[in-house]
């Protein structure tokens, strides 16, 4: 069985899991849905038709068909003879598989499974196991009702039968229907039973095991393969958890045998799509074993281990465990190894794991010690989008730590990153701006980004239809605009950029809105630009957003409003559009960022007297009296300033009253 083919593709809209699913982007074979199968069979149909026409059918084909005819017409003895001759042929070639299929051999083989004769069952299973990798045959055999029979055979006392049945189920499981049937006919608990093996067998060399123990090992390997195949369906994964597979997997992971480890880890990483399994990896102490297997030379095993790590590293405690077990060293080593470059699934998995693991300060420090940043930057020239996305993600995490920003620049990472802004692959476009966002805070990097026209390219990402891309691009704009030389001029030189930005305030996604507000707050510091965006109606749009209850949005909105006040009639307009009272309400939030932002906004608004009246009427004073004592200097100053303005107005009013 081609192990590599069991990697599946996932997308957030795959419909298989809830939000928060780690996004894996990899090179894959097409998923085995019935939608994709017809296209693959039509091409093989064409090949087959050509073959028949050219009458190049080898004599083996006819010989096989003759054997099947004997099986149909024969008693048990004749069937056995024919079966044993059939097994002599290489049943993994398509011609031979077709031979069996086209003479009605599949029905015969499935019928054999129903006999009570052990030898017939064994012979039938051996043939089925070899021909079921063929996609047409898989479908046919499933339709003939093989799955319930195979599931029944899993309980057969003869161990050979169990092994062959499980291996056949593993082949059939590449179709969705088979996976569903297996679950419905109670196959999952039976397969899980096959995994139950003594630890001794797992950790002793094969030469030192007796016959029985060797067979147990084979049984658990077959069970793992079958379950791996089954775990492509989310419902099956849920069933596996329910039927108590987790402790058994934890035990099997301790094995030293490569052929058992590969399906076991393959199974684990597919199950790790579920948060319950991600947690289990942590609680059942599977991390150490995973790292042990990660060190193995076998590339497939490395790939699956990396995938498992990628999926479970979203939890901080697991990340720590991975780091302490030496996972980062191994991952960096694999990323560095030039012989791995051609193996795209491996590279994508390893870089993905690095990305997710880098999400903690201690890990970033460790990665620095390992010299990870230059290694990652070197990978930016890869052709594979999946690899690039993950590398960019990892660099974004590393760049949060200031010294790394220069490292990226020195390793010549900036030009490549900017080049990738032209790519169309959305996940990549989500991550690259985040790297540039961090780098833009570093002076020399910013110069380079500017020279290469990076800011314009980031800005044009605001036109992308993915919300996440828009959000991250907008987030990247703030530091760029803040730190670029001649930033005001630069921004004005981007045709249509400001209008685009203001238009994004019509979006319905809160993350987009937050990020855009942050950007606007930075843009508005330049007076000329503020004039331009005011012309585009930024005041009206910001005012519309004021009624939000999302604290994250409120935090950025407040700051945006604050800096948009300083032009022409904007202050007044905010007041007229009824932005003040809702703003005062923000002070009831518990988020200190919101307080700060609101205080800033109110301070800037309070330079217009009518706004002061409105604020006062809305009861702002009581809040400000509290925040005036805050430890946050900006909050303190803004609150004080605002109160000051209100008081000045009150005093002025008093004076006028007195004069009268």
């Amino acid at each position: 069985m081609a192990e590599g083919d069991n990697i599946s593709t996932f997308s957030v809209d795959g419909g298989q899991d809830t939000v928060g699913l780690p996004r894996i982007v990899m090179v894959t074979e097409g998923s085995d849905t019935s939608a994709s199968s017809p296209s693959s069979t039509s091409s093989s149909e064409d090949n087959w038709a050509d073959l028949i026409k050219s009458s190049e059918i080898p004599p083996e084909y006819w010989h096989i068909q003759k054997l099947v005819k004997y099986m149909k017409a024969g008693n048990q003895t004749a069937t056995m003879v024919a079966l044993s001759c059939l097994k002599d042929h290489d049943l993994t070639i398509e011609v031979n598989q077709r031979a069996i299929q086209e003479i009605g051999g599949l029905e015969l083989l499935v019928n054999l499974l129903e006999t009570r004769d052990l030898c017939c069952i064994l012979g039938g299973l051996a043939v089925l196991r070899d021909i079921t990798p063929n996609i047409e045959i898989r479908k046919k055999v499933t339709d003939l009702g093989a799955i319930p029979l195979l599931v029944g055979l899993l309980s057969d006392p003869a161990r050979d039968v169990q092994i062959l049945a499980a291996e056949t189920i593993a082949n059939l499981g590449r179709i969705r229907k088979s996976r569903k049937f297996c679950r419905k006919f109670g196959g999952i608990p039976k397969l899980i039973d096959l995994l139950d093996i003594k630890e001794r067998c797992l950790i002793t060399q094969r030469e030192e095991l007796n016959q029985d123990e060797l067979q147990f090992l084979d049984i658990s390997r077959a069970g793992a393969k079958a379950l791996w195949s089954m775990s492509s369906s989310q419902r099956n994964r849920e069933a596996m958890r329910k039927y108590g597979m987790i402790p058994l997997i934890a035990r099997i992971l301790k094995t030293i045998h490569l052929d058992v480890a590969v399906p076991a880890v393959g199974l684990l990483q597919l199950c790790a799509n579920e948060t319950s399994f991600q947690l289990a990896i942590q609680t059942e102490k599977m991390v150490d074993d995973l790292i042990t297997h990660l060190a193995n030379e076998d590339k497939d095993l490395k790939t699956y281990c990396s995938l498992a790590i990628y999926k479970c590293a979203s939890d901080a405690i697991t990340r720590d465990m991975i780091r302490e077990a030496g996972g980062l060293e191994l991952l960096v080593e694999a990323a560095q190894d030039s012989t791995n470059r051609a193996n795209k699934p491996l590279m994508a998995a390893v870089t993905g794991a690095l990305w997710k693991c880098a999400n903690s300060d201690a890990s970033v420090k460790k990665l620095d010690n390992l010299g990870a940043v230059p290694i990652l930057v070197r990978l930016l020239d890869d052709e594979n989008d999946g690899v690039l996305t993950n590398v960019a993600g990892a660099l974004a995490e590393c760049a949060k730590y200031p010294p790394n920003r220069d490292k990226i620049r020195i390793a010549k990472g900036i030009p490549m990153l900017i080049h990738h802004l032209n790519n169309t692959h959305k996940p990549l476009l989500e991550n690259v701006p985040l790297v540039l966002m961090e780098c833009a805070r570093e002076h020399n990097c910013m110069i380079e980004i500017d020279e290469l026209d990076g800011v314009r390219l980031i800005w044009s990402l605001l036109k992308n239809d993915s919300k996440k891309v828009q959000t991250n691009a907008a987030l990247a704009l703030s530091p760029c605009v803040q730190n670029a030389a001649d930033s005001g001029e630069m921004v004005r030189s981007f045709v249509g950029a400001l209008e685009l930005t203001v238009d994004l305030l019509d979006s319905d996604d809160h993350n987009v809105l937050s990020a855009v507000c942050a950007a606007i707050a930075t843009i508005a510091r330049d007076h000329e630009n503020l004039a331009v965006i005011s012309d585009h109606g930024v005041v009206a749009k910001l005012s519309k957003l004021v009624s939000t209850t999302d604290d994250h949005l409120r935090g950025n909105l407040g700051v945006a409003i604050a800096y948009c006040c300083d032009w022409a009639q904007n202050r007044q307009e905010f007041g007229k559009r009824g932005a003040i009272t809702p703003l005062v309400n923000y002070m009831t939030s518990r988020d200190p960022n919101v307080h700060r932002a609101t205080a800033l906004a109110l301070y800037h608004l309070s330079f217009y007297s009518i706004n002061c009246v409105t604020m006062h009427a809305a009861g702002v004073v009581q809040f400000l009296l509290e925040t005036i004592g805050s430890k946050d200097p900006i909050l303190q100053e803004a609150s004080a300033g605002c109160l000051c303005n209100i008081r000045k107005l009150a005093l002025a009013t008093e004076k006028i009253k007195l004069k009268q």
Binding site: N75, C119, L122
Partner: protein
Amino acid sequence: MPYRQLKEKTLEMLYRNTHFSKNELDALFTMYRRLVTSAQNAAPTSVIAQPAAKIDGIDQNTFRDVMHNTFDLVTEDVVLDRVWLTWERGVNGGEGALKFEAWARGLSVLLRGTDEEKKSHCFAVYDMNNDGYITRDEMFTLLKNSLLKQPGDEDPDEGVRDLVELVLRKMDIDKDGKLSIEDYKQAVEQEPLLLEAFGQCLPSKRHAAAFIKTLVNK
């Protein structure tokens, strides 16, 4: 009538020479006695008013019944006869009724035989003229009825002959046109399905296991 109870000496010897435990041997003896007694009672008298011929062991009829009913060994008559004939009868050999020792030793091979014992048993069954080789003709005789006669067949034996060729080609390791015991053993070693390639002559593992279970429970 011979021993109503199994002699200690015999029990010892059988315990050493078969795969049965002492309890199982006792149970087998009980069963043996029962079979012989009921066969005796059912025997027809040959001459009026004279007692029937003495049956002092398991005769061929009883044997056939046990094979069919207890072990579900449904097979060609040719094969069953061969099993009867080749059954180890001990020093005196012959083709008469089976005494208990012979019966027990034979069952040991059938029900719990090692791979070697089973191979030897099957080969002996199939080698119809006991010359140490299974020849084409012997194979043909054994497989004659293994294919359903199709209505359109001109030569119904053609399929059987072809099957014989296939088996021979597969199992004839030294390529001398016939199967020696060495050929047979080697071929079965590589492909266990071929053990009973010329006809079923062993009870299925399931039936063997079920039978032994009933022995112990008695």
